[in-house]
């Protein structure tokens, strides 16, 4: 092999810049045209968009199942649907919202945004990224097809044993649920691995940890939380499948097992999961607040430490989902104290966001309106969470509509509102066009007011004794009016989402053309055109502050010298982001899809026979070998010693 000098290969630089460079990079980083390109792409933006769109579809499905439930609950002793249908619906609603919407969409936003925010050309392990999407899609489709075939799971989104065990849930419903967990598990873990590697190794030169955008911090902490928490639900659901399929006894009290083992394992994941959803959302809030307040976010180090603190504490408080199970009474005060501690970082963040607005010059455009709605709503959820941290209070409100209200305030207020704001805020980056402001405001006010009407009454319903997950309720309990009100509110929210979606579709076709940085925002993602080219940046940007575009108004410092004839990334050092290695990035490939198909076959057939695990392993292994086999012939890149 000829040893070439590093200078002999075509690279960007003085000689190659401007349109010529763009054309050359587009050839190198572009996908094949048409469907084949769509299937084989490894571009984080295309995969991110399809992830986001799929997540939104699941949001709509979960929302429709909620509407259906609210119809049933609109009047007492309603016989509109059978209890079996209702139980499937709330299981599908919770499962879809948590596993198929909230976690994936936060990861999807990170897949799209993180490489742009840190100034790199693609995510690390792009084929894994493609694989992750196919797995996610397969899991979601499987469970919804099952629901349509009336074998949807019906044991609740946390499927407590022994109700979900072989004795009390015969049939395949719970198996389908548990396998869906495995699918989303694999998908989420893959993305977490990519994000950790991308964030720690691919940041633009000069983007030290202390200059990292807060959404990227959120994504990093979240990725670590996924890595440490998801194995727990993976293990729990595998043990459940084993109990159901091959006769193990993990959750069987009669054979030395313990039903509470499930709850410990599930909530060791389930509690961190709430923050896996919430922390990226705080990143959205920080970016929007900063951009529209015209001021760098107040107390950046406190914000970062709050994120990390939340992440750490999240792993210590899972038992607060289990207060009523008869835990040792001695521990009550410990659990209360630990759970209350979680609200300290949240209180600090809330202060910092409002302080940023107070000290800045806020422009209340639609994204910032969502931030205001977030604060107004999320704080209510946080404070009702403070109430439930107290064991005595929790013993009264646990598993009632008070809790239903609480977690919707936390999850919709804390994650969906910021997400809608973020969607509006980055829509011009995704599509090149602005979302319509007037429709945006109409949707905003409808969703904000509708949400309060739907969920605020539930606090009172809970205090008036209404338990959650009941498909009907008696007439004389005094719950009738509030339930009707909640149903009306939920339809307002649904209408608002319709307006939001119409706005998105309309703006996609007819919206005002955005330009690279329509909001005059400070982050690197706004330094490239909208939508960004396949290679993100013609030259690798260099960063010397937390708000690079505000501090470099006349010109952007960049580094040159990456190859343009092959896909190449820049790796930098972990802490200070010093340029270190030029690393190849994967080419488009259909192998991730084949691997995902093989894995899907394995997972689905293992619902029916344990031998599928053994036999199905071979096609999976074959697909993986094809995936990782080096491209042929070996590239011309010489070793530069």
């Amino acid at each position: 092999m000829t040893v070439l000098s590093g200078k002999d290969l075509p690279r960007d630089g003085e000689q190659l810049q401007g349109p010529a460079l763009d054309a050359r990079l587009a050839r190198t980083w572009g996908d094949a045209p048409g469907l084949w390109g769509w299937i084989t792409t490894t571009d984080h933006k295309r995969i991110g968009i399809r992830y986001i769109v799929t997540g939104m579809v699941f949001l709509v499905l979960a929302g429709l199942s909620a509407l259906w439930m609210r119809l049933q609950l609109a009047t007492p002793e309603n016989s509109m649907m059978t209890p079996d249908r209702y139980n499937q619906l709330f299981t599908m609603h919770g499962t879809t919202m948590m596993f198929l919407f909230a976690v994936p969409i936060m990861e999807a936003m990170a897949i799209y945004l993180v490489p742009l925010m840190i100034g790199t050309r693609n995510i690390s392990f792009p084929r894994l990224n493609a694989f992750s999407y196919w797995m996610y899609l397969a899991g979601g489709v499987m469970i919804w097809v099952a629901f349509v075939l009336n074998i949807g799971p019906d044991a609740g989104w946390f499927s407590y044993t022994p109700l979900s065990g072989p004795q009390f849930s015969p049939g395949k419903r719970v198996d389908i649920w548990a396998q869906m967990i495995t699918f989303t598990e694999v998908a989420a873990l893959a993305v977490a691995v990519e994000l950790v590697a991308t964030i720690l190794k691919q940041r633009a030169p000069g983007m030290t940890l202390a200059r990292m955008p807060l959404f990227v911090w959120g994504a990093l902490v979240t990725a670590f939380m996924v890595i440490f928490s998801m194995p727990s639900v993976a293990l729990a659901s595998s043990l459940l499948i084993a109990d159901r399929l091959i006769g193990t006894h993990f959750y069987n009290a009669a054979e030395h097992g313990d039903p509470l083992l499930w709850q410990h394992l599930f909530w060791f994941f389930g509690h961190p999961e709430v923050y896996i959803i919430f922390l990226p959302a705080t990143g959205f809030v920080s970016h929007i607040t900063e951009a529209f307040s015209r001021r760098p976010v107040f107390a950046y180090p406190a914000m970062v430490l709050s994120l990390v603190t939340t992440g750490l504490l999240a792993f210590g408080v899972w038992v607060h989902h289990m207060f009523a199970t008869g835990l040792p009474r001695l521990g009550y005060s410990f659990y209360t104290a630990a759970t209350l501690a979680v609200s300290i970082p949240a209180a600090i963040q809330i202060f910092c966001w409002i302080a940023t607005m107070w000290d800045g010059r806020p422009r209340f455009r639609v994204p910032l309106l969502y931030v205001v709605a977030f604060i107004v709503t999320f704080v209510i959820g946080g404070l009702s969470g403070v109430m439930q941290a107290s064991v005595p209070i929790d013993l009264q409100v646990h598993d009632t509509y008070f809790v239903v209200a609480h977690f919707h305030y936390v999850l919709v207020g804390g994650a969906v509102f910021p997400l809608l704001g973020a969607f509006t805020y980055w829509f011009p980056k995704f599509t090149g066009r602005m979302m319509d402001d007037r429709l945006g405001k109409i949707a905003f006010w409808m969703i904000f007011i509708g949400f309060q009407v739907a969920f605020f009454p539930m606090h009172f319903l809970g205090l008036m004794g209404m338990p959650r997950r009941v498909y009907t309720y008696p007439t004389n309990m005094g719950w009738d009016e509030l339930n009707l009100l909640a149903t009306i509110g939920s339809f307002v929210v649904a209408a608002a989402f319709l307006v939001f979606i119409v706005n998105a579709i309309f703006s996609l076709a007819r919206g005002a053309v955005a330009g690279a940085n329509p909001w005059d925002a400070p982050g690197l993602e706004w330094a490239t055109s909208s939508p960004p080219p396949q290679y993100n940046f013609p030259h690798i940007p260099v960063v010397s502050s937390r708000t690079p575009l505000w501090d470099n108004r006349n010109h952007l410092p960049v580094m040159t010298g990456l190859r343009v004839d092959d896909r190449e990334l820049l790796l930098t050092s972990v802490m200070e982001a010093i340029p270190d290695v030029r690393d190849p990035s994967a080419m488009p490939s259909a192998w991730p899809l084949w691997a995902a198909m093989a894995t899907t076959c394995l997972f689905i057939s293992s619902i029916f026979t344990p031998w599928a695990v053994v036999i199905g392993a071979f096609p999976v292994a074959a697909a993986l070998i094809g995936w990782f086999w080096p491209k042929s012939p070996p590239g011309p890149e010489p070793v530069i010693e």
Binding site: R295, A324, R329, A355, R363, T400, V470
Partner: protein, 321 residues
Amino acid sequence: AGIQSVSDDAGRESGLIWSLFVLFGIVTAIFYVAVIAFLIAAYWRRGGSNQDGLPDEGGVTRERSLRTAFFLWTGAVIGSLSLLALASYFTDRGLASVNPENKPMVGIDLVANQWWWDVRYHYDDPSQNIRTANEIHLPAGVPAMISLKSNDVIHSFWVPNLAGKQDLIPGRINDIVLMPRRIGHYRAQCAEYCGLQHAHMALDVIVESPADFQRWEAAQRQPAPAPATPLAQAGYAYVTSRECSTCHNIAGTNANGTVAPDLTHVAGRRTIAAGTLPMNRAGLYAWIADPQGAKPGNNMPTVGLNADELHAVAAYLETLK
């Protein structure tokens, strides 16, 4: 407060918890007002101005005063949380010492089933034991110790007017001690999703004066009265010889099944099928004729009685006071 309400002090526990809840409510409301006030201040201060201006370099003006406010805020949060934790601790200690004088207690074994409650009162003399279903009676002012067990899945025992909830878990026994203070009728409902008919798993709780309670105990210990009218006798014959008797128990007859609610004094109870229907003639007819209509999926099969049998069975059951 209603018959199934948290905001009540009919029990010593619920009273303590409600006071704690009110304290939490006040403190959290103060914090909420503070947050919203700050938000409004942020809007009024400069919001809306400088619509499309460039970032204002002088925007970072009040860093120092903000810092002071930041530390004050954090201190206030930590201080109040500590206060709340302490209050919670003392309430919990109060709840733990429910029977400080070691009074003799009413002892109940409560066994949850999909989807009904099996109730057994136990006494030092086992011949005095009482078995009933879906309804418990408690004397006011006397602590009651309830052992919670489950025959199938996890359920949760919750009488909000009296106390917080406690789960019934297969393979374990959880205890809860109640101290009812006010006479009245309260409603408990299973609070852990337990399958198809989780919505229809209520339990009537009747707190009465100790004298009334003793009368009730004595009545419960009596075997079922013999049927008096011919119609009731026909019903008796049907119930004790046909499908009913394999699952249900009626003391003093040869209906001695154990897997379904005890019917010895069923007509004296307030509801049928764990709160599904009211206990009256219409309710009895509806339930016996079509148990799967009122509570689909429950374990009582639709027997398919003809009209005569239905009249007879209902008439007999009505006599079981």
